[in-house]
Symmetry: D2
Subunit: 356 residues, 4 copies
């Protein structure tokens, strides 16, 4: 296995949480795309820590520094490399992690996978921080697919047991993405902001954490994208989605509801609207037989609660093979769902770039 | 995009529902594996139509004919090609499908994707029939991973609103797979067989269909398999799962339940058992940070109701661009979940073979 | 490693010399290409054995039987599988090859590579016969690239010490390909036919064999095809060329002559002709920096003498690890260069299809 | 096409001659390899400019700065990124190259390929400088394959019409690589150093350049590496070799001589030596049927003369589409063959790493 995503484009992510830098090389980009770096920085900020009281206080400017592939603000078509320096890492906070495996984390599996040579500090290459280069790549991808009329947006659809409204799958206007973006907690239904915040603070006060769901939509995708075996649109999106730490489930369209419906209820009947073939409903989330049908692509991912909690947990010392207690020190998010929204958008945009 | 799955192995599926044959080429197999062809044929039968009253009466012997890659019953290490002839196809039943797009099917997206040159008969390359070569590849994969102590099994976890028990994620013995296999409807809890059958017949009597869920487990996988970016175990399994027609969702471990839990509840605490590091629970379905932790891999997929129903539906004629009514003729399954069980096992086995 | 060529298209070759069939699956083809099957069969015949006195008397009709991917004579866009049955194999002729390793052949390396499980009959998957599916894929590729104005042709440029004229690299008309095709020995200079034939018969009379060179040209390729790292046009063509058994060298443009020239002699100066930018010479064989410049692509491959000779040779018995004498029985070509011409054209066409 | 080499490992090269930095990401490395950074720096120096009077005076320290993938001097198994800063670039020297296409260079093809958005300064992504990250990757690969007993070495086998001795293909000891390394001009036969130097200086005095050949050997490769279709050892090595700017030909073993021999002369007869199966000769350069046979892998590449010469040349202005004269300014090598030796070794080592 070789750490690359993509057949048409290539995304190669590198870096560890406490190494010199993290970054990404993107190959196969079209030349001549003018990139808006301010917009890229805005996207980076949506994921960056320390943005508000809901997230970890580790402050990273997370400014991507372009190494190659851009000349006079335009993509050259040669591989684009951007690095993000690791500035604010307190490596000493993490020294216990060499031996004490954090439950729910990749400490143990990473140790086994790499025979103990993995950089354990802050999760190393498994750190959520490694999604920053993914957000960069997504920000670039967004600007490229925008030239073809494609827009990506997402919102928190659930925090613990508090559910936001869902996207209107059939009549989705990209204006809604702008509205969502302006909120501290990116939801459709404003009345859910306060209870979601309260839940996150409650978890924090208990030294615990909560998870949730993110619903993502891609608007403007033409019909006919994707391949039945083995690169269905669902395959490509889910492949990327499950590269994002903490994602444990994905469903397209109405998702698990499909199990409870009759075929006659689930099928999206075709009709003619404005002389174009379209569907009356969009239960299938814009994808039939693995190929887009022109309706918005809709999917929802489940994000597990941040495994890093300061509450005492039972675990093992991998060197002594003894059971031990662990209270994880350092700065941790009681909830990462709000920071993951832009990451999910990023992988959606990258998937589109790959498939177009 | 190039129709291949795998970096270490390669799976290349070909064929259309009403073409000369369907088949698969599997590259990258180890040499010297003795294949049990009787067992392969049994696996094929689990998916084949016409096996009992629950499925379509189209009878296909579905016997794979080996073209290459096997010499004196052992794999040679060269690409293994098997073809399955298309015998019992009634092409005339499908002629209306050239123009009348079946709701919920790939007729429309396939037409757009291939500029109208797709073989529309019986869904062509999008037909559920194309999962037969996948089952063959899975049957081969199962025998190879068995030599490393890995076993795959699945059951119907839901038909419409009737739910089976779930696998005991922590203490899963492969004996349960044998028990499940012997039942007409592969479930854990026998009391669910009758209501599930009744539901399927009810759908059939209404000229309608139902969907459901399949839970799959992989036992015996060593810790340390998978790659964080971009080939997490979840990425590889989901990539394949969404190549199976009708799969619309996948979740690992406790899946969507993760959204409703605190971190302290969701985390699988490590402990020592028989001098080995293990976890007390298996909420994560055997995967942490995209890498196996030695616990059983558990995932569940959502299968939408068979889109082919004989009930009248609204749709369009793609040539005239007029709205039309459609009653799909031919033989169709009121439920394909029971036939899909072995397909899901197949993709699980193929994913393991790729990652080992 | 997984037995697949291509990122945009995929070519998956399968089969052994004495198995049930050999064949190929081609993925990623455009839909809607009408294939001329008579022309494909003609291409197959150029490689097939038993065509004239110069080649082995093993008669294979070598008729490809389409399994999938073609509907009403047009490509569907789904994977195209064709198989070629193995009819005329005399397996018993080859039984000694299980233990007696033929010098210059893959018997020994195949045995080691596949732990003794390789099908040794007639070279198995290493047989020159496996180039037949490659010729099929090339014939399909030729018809597709022809729709973009690209033509491929080749000739024998050397048999033993007898050299043909080279292509006029700068002013190459595709008419010359037709002229070459009509000859028993495909050369530019007719006066070389008789001495080449004589040399081949001389080798045959000595129970020996001869090799040679093939020069290939691709006309009509637009400028701007290829990628510097790592998919230069030379990289892609050479990757395929060295998949053809017996090819041991490749050079582009004036090839090894480059070593003997000054930069001022080697450089192709640019000029304007008919208002278009072109080069005065074509020493670089149409490729600069790994990318096409619009001039004909020219390359030459070196083919080693057929290793199968009936002359007595020293070798070893792999089971007893003793030195033994071997006189290879069966029907063998004293020269395969003339049959390899169409194979080299095929890989050139496939490479173009991949890169376009 | 996506700018990545490798299926098992992945090499992703980025950078332009006058951008911020150039570098490489290497994925799929084994964990736990201790890297000797002094040795890596030595390898970098062998390629670096300004090392002696034979090469350009552009001075680049060419020190790779590790960004990731190394922890406490050992590979972690996560992607290894190294960047090399561009310090000594005089961008103004190159401004004429925006319009005046250098003959023999990629200026024109790069312009067409990337629609005029390529970074033309110093050749941009096509610059020979981009081989520095390749040398870094090769230096890492060398250290890894050394742990398996594999050593790579190369020498200049020809400069213009002056030929060095060839490697003794059958009895090659790695000591010879050390001897070659200590010379200013890496040749086997010391008497060729002076005439080669003289030839290079002569070319320089004429504002011209010369090319040559490099012969490379890989010792210690076990038998059984490689795959017949489509990843023969020759395919993988040649794919990489033709990514190196200025390489125009490659041949394995005795190469083009194969065309002039009888099969009985060309075949490497097998024999028993020290109870092991080996061959009496090594005409095939250690590869049969695309798979290693345990003998040294031997190949030779042809390097064209440096296209950058200060002698006046005819060319075109791509903007005005007029014919113009060009005298290339700046510092250029009259011969790059001596600097390319380590690059060829690098690609050989990378190819081995990929295939093992």
């Amino acid at each position: 296995m070789n750490n690359i995503f993509g057949k048409n484009i290539s995304i190669s992510i590198f870096g560890e949480s406490h190494g010199k830098s993290i970054g990404v090389v993107i190959g196969g980009l079209p030349s001549g795309i003018k990139l808006d770096f301010e917009q890229i920085q805005q996207e980076m900020s949506r994921r960056a820590p320390g943005q508000n009281k809901l997230s970890t206080q580790r402050k990273e400017s997370d400014m991507p520094i372009i190494q190659s592939g851009i000349f006079e603000d335009y993509t050259t078509g040669a591989p684009l490399c951007a690095i993000i320096k690791n500035n604010d890492a307190h490596s000493k906070d993490y020294s216990i992690l060499k031996t004490h495996m954090r439950p729910g984390h990749a400490d143990y599996t990473g140790n086994i996978r790499y025979n103990g040579f993995n950089d354990y500090r802050g999760g190393g290459h498994f750190s959520g921080r490694i999604t920053a280069p993914l957000v960069f790549a997504g920000a670039v991808a967004k600007q490229i697919i925008k030239t073809k009329g494609i827009t990506v947006g997402a919102h928190i659809s659930q925090i613990f047991n508090i559910q936001d409204k869902k996207f209107d799958k059939q009549n989705l206007d990209k204006q809604i993405f702008h509205n969502i973006l302006e909120k501290d907690i990116p939801v459709i239904d404003d009345t859910k902001i306060e209870p979601m915040c309260a839940k996150i603070f409650e978890a924090k006060s208990k030294s615990d954490s909560v998870g949730g769901k993110i619903e993502c939509a891609i608007i403007g995708v033409p019909a006919g994208i994707g391949n039945p075996f083995f690169d269905s649109v669902e395959s490509v999106i889910s492949h990327l989605a499950f590269s994002v730490p903490a994602v444990k489930g994905i469903a397209f369209g109405i998702g698990e509801e499909f199990a409870n419906l009759y075929g006659s209820e689930a099928n999206d009947e075709f009709c003619i609207k404005d002389n174009e073939i379209t569907t009356k409903t969009n239960n299938n989330g814009g994808i039939l037989g693995g190929i887009t049908n022109g309706a918005p692509i809709i999917f929802e991912v489940t994000i597990k609660p941040t495994p890093s909690i300061s509450k005492e947990q039972n675990t093992v010392n991998i060197e002594t093979k003894k059971e031990v207690k662990l209270e994880i020190q350092g700065r941790h998010d009681p909830c990462i769902v709000q920071r993951a929204v832009v990451v999910i958008e990023a992988i959606a945009a990258i998937a589109m770039l790959e498939m177009l």
